[in-house]
C-alpha cells in the first residue's frame, strides 16, 4: 500500500460506514413499524377514516377450515402438501340484493358452507339444505375453491366447484336448491385444480370456464402410485396440471378447447384473473403460477397467445399466488397484483405490482413492477389479495393475506425447505426426499396487510391500526358490501382456521357509489363488463369478475369510493357485447342497478 495512514483510516471509516448505515437504517425502520401498533376504533377512524371489526361470531359464522389428509406416503410433509383449500366467494345466490358467502372445506367428509345474508348482520348456513355442503365425499377429492357464474343466463348464478378431485358444476335452481350437472356438462373425471374463473372469452354472450391445474390430473393424492409428484423445480417447474378452457355450448354442455385456442401449459397454476388489458374488447387471461413465471394470455378475438415475456410479467420466476386487477392511479388502466414469497434472509421474491408502462398499449403493452416503489412488496408468504376502496377516499387500497404453515412457533422448516428446493429435479421432485416437517412452522403466524393508497404513489400498511390483527394462515380474500351500507367489507378464509368477516366502518363524510349490472346481449352476470367512473376530474376503471385473487370471487357489484364532496361527471359502461353505455346525473351514496340496453 502506497498511501499513508490517513488515507487508510479514511478508507476504513468508509468501509465501516458502508456496512453500518444500511443496518442502522433498516433497524430504525423496523422499530418504527413495530411501534405503529394497534389503535382504538375512534383513533383509527380519526387517522385513517375507517376501521374493521371481526364480526364473524356475532354474525353467526363459526366456520373452521379443515385441511385434507392425503396418502400416508406423504405423511412427512403433509402440512406442506395439504396447505391449501380454504376459499371464499361472494354470491347473491337467491337474488335478494344481499351478498351471501360461500366457503370451502378440504377434509374428506367435511362440509362446505353457504352463508345466506339475513339482512340484519347475521348469516345462516343453508348449504346442506340446498345440496352444496356435502361435496367432499371419499373418492371425489376435496374442495379448493368456488366460482359463481350464470352459465345458462337464467338470472341465477351457478356454482363451479374447484377441487383436487372430481370437478363439480351445480345449477342454481332459482335460489331454491342446486342440481349437480357435472355429467351433463361433460367435465373431466379428475382435475387437481386450485384456480378457475368464469369469463366470456369469445364474447358470444355465454360464460365459459377456465380451470388451471396444479398437480398433474393423473395423480390421486389419496392413492399415490409414486411419490414423484412434487414440482421438478422450485422456479421452472413444468410438470404440473394441464389447463382447461371449457367453451359453453349453450345447452348445458361444455367443450374443452384450450389447445385449439392456444392455451397450453403445465405450469403449476395457483391463481388466475381475466380482464381486457389490451383494449380490444376481448378478455385476456393472467395466470399466476407457483414454482415459475406468470403467464399472460392475450386474447385476439377468441384466440390466445402467451405474452408473459413480451409484456414483462413472465420473466423472473417466483411463486405466484394471486391475481388482482386494480386501477391504483385512477388513470383508467388496470395494474395487476401478484403475490409471492418473502422470508427475511432466505427468500426475498417480493410481491409484484405490474403497472402498465406509459406509452404502451394494445399488443405492445408492457408492464413494470412498481411494488417496491409503492410499498406493497413485502408481505411474507403471501396468498390472496384484493383491491378495494376501504376508506372511500377515491383510491383503491389493498388487502393481503399472509402466512403459510403455523405450527410450532419456535421451530422453523425453512432450512430444510431451502435445502431441498435448491436441489436437482430428481431430488426436489420426489416427496420421499423431503425432510419431515415434524411439527415445525414455515412462515407461520404472519400479519395480514391493509395497505391504504394515498393517491400519490405510496401505500401504507395500517392493518393493526384498523383492527386486522389476526395471524391465521390467510389464503383467500373476498370483498363485498355485505351490509349494503356503502362500505366494503372483507371476508378472509384461513387454512386450518376460522372464516373471518371484517366489517368495515367508514367515515360517512367519504362518499361512494355502487353499480349492479345485468347483461342482456352480454352474459347476464355482466362478467367482463367494465365501468369507468369520472368524477372530480379523475377516472377509475373497475370490472365485473368471475373469479380472481386466490381461490376467490368478489361481489359482482362494483363499489367506488368518491372522497368528500364529489362531483360525478358520468359513468361509462363497456359491456362484453361491445355496447357502450353512458350514465349521467349520478348521485353519490347510491347503488345503481343497470341493465344492458337491448
Amino acid at each position: 500500500m502506497k498511501r499513508g495512514p490517513i488515507a487508510r483510516i479514511i478508507l476504513a471509516l468508509l468501509f465501516v460506514a458502508l456496512i453500518a448505515v444500511p443496518v442502522i437504517v433498516s433497524r430504525i425502520a423496523a422499530k418504527r413499524k413495530a411501534a405503529a401498533g394497534e389503535l382504538n376504533e375512534k383513533a383509527a377512524m380519526a387517522r385513517y377514516g375507517f376501521y374493521f371489526t371481526d364480526v364473524s361470531k356475532q354474525a353467526g359464522v363459526h366456520f373452521i377450515h379443515e385441511a385434507p389428509k392425503f396418502d400416508p406416503k406423504l405423511a412427512a410433509i403433509m402440512p406442506e402438501v395439504a396447505s391449501m383449500g380454504a376459499s371464499v366467494s361472494i354470491v347473491d345466490y337467491n337474488r335478494d340484493g344481499w351478498p351471501d358467502i360461500y366457503v370451502t372445506n378440504s377434509r374428506i367428509g367435511s362440509m362446505n358452507a353457504l352463508y345466506r345474508n339475513n339482512h340484519d348482520g347475521t348469516f345462516t348456513d343453508v348449504a346442506p339444505e340446498l345440496g352444496i355442503a356435502d361435496v367432499n365425499k371419499p373418492g371425489t377429492g376435496v374442495s379448493m375453491g368456488a366460482v359463481w357464474g350464470d352459465y345458462d343466463n337464467d338470472g341465477y348464478p351457478d356454482l363451479y366447484l374447484i377441487k383436487w378431485g372430481k370437478p363439480m358444476l351445480f345449477h342454481n335452481d332459482h335460489g331454491h336448491g342446486f342440481t349437480d350437472v357435472t355429467a351433463k356438462a361433460g367435465l373431466p373425471k379428475w382435475i387437481n385444480a386450485s384456480t378457475a374463473l368464469w369469463f366470456d372469452y369469445d364474447r358470444d354472450g355465454k360464460l365459459d370456464l377456465f380451470v388451471g391445474g396444479y398437480y398433474n390430473e393423473n395423480i390421486d393424492l389419496w392413492d399415490l402410485k409414486t411419490t414423484k409428484i412434487m414440482p421438478d423445480s422450485f422456479e421452472y417447474a413444468d410438470n404440473g396440471g394441464r389447463k382447461y378452457l371449457f367453451h359453453n355450448l349453450g345447452d348445458g354442455r361444455f367443450q374443452e378447447v384450450s389447445a385449439q385456442v392456444g392455451i397450453k401449459s403445465r405450469r403449476w397454476a395457483l391463481a388466475s384473473g381475466a380482464a381486457d388489458l389490451t383494449g380490444n374488447g376481448y378478455p385476456d387471461l393472467f395466470i399466476a403460477n407457483d414454482y415459475g413465471v406468470s403467464e399472460l394470455y392475450l386474447n385476439d378475438h377468441g384466440h390466445f397467445h402467451e405474452a408473459g415475456e413480451q409484456t414483462g410479467v413472465g420473466f423472473a420466476p417466483k411463486s405466484g399466488m394471486n391475481v388482482a386487477f386494480g386501477d391504483i392511479f385512477n388513470q383508467g388502466k388496470f395494474s395487476i397484483y401478484v403475490s409471492n414469497i418473502s422470508e427475511p434472509g432466505i427468500l426475498i421474491q417480493g410481491n409484484n405490482m405490474w403497472v402498465p408502462e406509459d406509452g404502451t398499449s394494445g399488443n405492445a403493452l408492457h408492464y413494470e413492477n412498481l411494488a417496491r416503489d409503492l410499498g406493497v412488496e413485502l408481505g411474507g408468504w403471501s396468498f390472496g389479495a384484493q383491491f378495494g376502496d376501504f376508506n372511500n377516499d377515491g383510491n383503491l387500497d389493498l388487502f393481503l393475506a399472509n402466512g403459510y404453515i403455523s405450527l410450532d412457533r419456535n421451530r422453523s422448516y425453512w432450512y430444510d425447505f431451502a435445502k431441498v428446493a435448491g436441489g436437482n429435479s430428481s431430488i426436489i421432485g420426489d416427496a420421499k426426499n423431503w425432510p419431515a416437517f415434524d411439527g415445525r412452522s414455515l412462515s407461520g403466524y404472519q400479519q395480514k396487510r391493509v395497505w391504504i393508497n394515498d393517491g400519490a404513489g405510496k401505500f401504507e400498511d395500517v392493518a393493526r391500526a384498523v383492527g386486522v390483527t389476526d395471524t391465521h394462515d390467510g389464503r383467500s380474500v373476498a370483498v363485498a358490501d355485505l351490509w349494503n351500507n356503502g362500505a366494503l367489507d372483507v371476508v378472509v378464509a384461513n387454512q386450518n382456521g376460522p372464516l373471518l368477516i371484517y366489517k368495515n366502518h367508514v367515515d360517512p363524510a367519504e362518499k361512494w357509489i355502487e353499480f349492479s349490472l345485468e347483461g342482456t346481449k352480454s352474459n347476464r352476470d355482466a362478467i367482463g363488463a367494465e365501468v369507468t367512473l369520472y368524477w372530480n376530474g379523475q377516472e377509475q376503471i373497475q370490472e365485473v369478475e368471475g373469479g380472481n385473487g386466490f381461490a376467490a370471487q368478489n361481489d359482482l357489484r362494483l363499489h367506488f369510493g368518491l372522497g368528500k364532496h364529489p362531483k360525478i361527471e358520468k359513468a361509462v359502461i363497456h359491456w362484453p357485447s361491445g355496447t357502450v353505455q353512458t350514465l349521467d346525473n349520478l348521485t353519490p351514496d347510491k347503488l345503481y342497478h343497470v341493465k344492458e340496453p337491448e
Binding site: 498511501r3 478508507l11 458502508l18 433498516s26 427475511p344 435448491g422 436441489g423 429435479s425 431430488i427
Partner: protein, 297 residues
C-alpha cells in the same frame, strides 16, 4: 470470489500477453469468460438473474471501486478481471428486489481487500465476505440464490465438466475435489445424525450457488494457502465447519464456513512463513509482498 487463475509467476507478469496466452486456458481471463458464459447460459435459458440492471450495477460498482482504490493505494490502474468476477458473483448470487444492495455488497467486497489486510495480504475472499456480511446483517433486504438455475441435470453436468476442466488447468482441482468428496461424506453422516433422507443432505451440492462456490470462491488463489496439502486440508475444514453450521440449520452454511476458515488458514500460513523465514534469516516482508499474492486483485 476472486480470479482463481491469477496465480501468475512474477516473470510472466512483465511479459506482454502473447496470442498463445490468450488462446490457452492458462490466463487470467478464462475464469471471467467462464463465469460470464455460465451467467449468459443461465439467464438466456432460465432467466436466473433478478435483472440485468442489478447484475451490471454490481459489476460496475466492483470495477469502479477496484480502479479507484488501486489508483489511490497502489498508484496504478489494476487489471479488473478479479473485480469483474466479484461483481458478477454478487450479481448472480444475491437476491434482492432493491438495487442498492447489489452496489453495497460489491463495494463491501472490493473494499474488504484494501481494509482487512495483514502483512500486506487480504484475508477474506472478497465476494464471500461481501455476501456473508449483507446476508447476516440485512436479512430483511437480501437473500441468496438458492433455488434458481433450472434444476436440470444436463445443465448441471455441463457446468461441472467445464468447471472441472478449467479448475484442473489452473491447478486448483484438488481443492474442489477435496471439498466435494468431504461434503458428500459429511452429508451421509449428517443424514445419519438427523435421520433425514441422504439425498436431502446432498441436495444443496446440486444447486447453482454451490457450483459458483466450488469453482470460483473456495479456489481463489489470493485467499487460499499455497501448499497442495494445505489447500486440501482447508477445503476439508470448510466442509467440516459447514457440517456443524448445517446441523444448526444455517441456510448459508458453506459461506459462513469459508468466511471463518479461510482467513484463519491464511493467518496460520503467514505465521508459519514468518517462522520459517526467521529460522532461515529471510525478512518476512520478502515473503508477504512477493508478486502474485501481495496486491489486491
Amino acid at each position: 470470489m476472486s480470479n482463481p487463475a491469477v496465480a501468475i509467476p512474477a516473470q510472466q507478469r512483465v511479459k506482454p500477453p502473447s496470442l498463445k496466452s490468450w488462446l490457452t486456458l492458462n490466463n487470467r481471463y478464462v475464469p471471467p469468460v467462464f463465469i460470464t458464459l455460465i451467467l449468459l447460459a443461465g439467464q438466456l435459458s432460465y432467466g436466473i438473474l433478478e435483472s440485468y440492471e442489478r447484475t451490471l450495477l454490481a459489476i460496475g460498482t466492483a470495477i469502479v471501486i477496484e480502479l479507484v482504490l488501486g489508483r489511490i493505494f497502489l498508484g496504478k490502474w489494476l487489471n479488473v478481471a478479479s473485480a469483474y468476477i466479484t461483481g458478477i458473483s454478487v450479481g448472480i448470487l444475491l437476491r434482492s428486489p432493491a438495487f442498492w444492495p447489489y452496489a453495497a455488497c460489491a463495494a463491501i467486497a472490493i473494499m474488504s481487500k484494501y481494509v482487512l489486510r495483514f502483512r500486506g495480504r487480504h484475508l477474506f475472499n472478497p465476494s464471500n465476505f461481501g455476501i456473508s456480511v449483507v446476508l447476516f446483517l440485512l436479512p430483511a433486504t437480501v437473500a441468496m440464490l438458492s433455488i434458481q438455475w433450472g434444476n436440470n441435470m444436463w445443465s448441471l453436468i455441463t457446468i461441472w465438466i467445464l468447471g472441472a476442466i478449467i479448475i484442473w488447468r489452473v491447478n486448483r482441482f484438488n481443492i474442489t475435489l477435496t471439498y466435494v468428496v468431504s461434503f458428500l461424506v459429511l452429508a451421509v453422516i449428517r443424514a445419519h445424525i438427523i435421520h433425514e433422507p441422504v439425498l436431502s443432505e446432498i441436495s444443496p451440492l446440486t444447486g447453482p450457488e454451490y457450483q459458483l462456490f466450488i469453482f470460483f470462491m473456495i479456489t481463489d488463489p489470493k485467499t487460499t494457502v499455497r501448499s497442495k496439502k494445505g489447500q486440501c486440508l482447508v477445503a476439508f475444514l470448510v466442509a467440516l465447519l459447514e457440517m456443524f453450521f448445517r446441523l444448526d440449520q444455517s441456510v448459508y452454511a458453506e459461506l459462513y464456513a469459508l468466511f471463518w476458515i479461510g482467513p484463519i488458514a491464511l493467518l496460520i500460513e503467514m505465521w508459519l512463513d514468518a517462522r520459517r523465514a526467521k529460522l532461515a534469516g529471510t525478512p518476512t516482508s520478502a515473503i508477504a509482498t512477493s508478486p502474485g499474492i501481495a496486491q489486491p486483485s
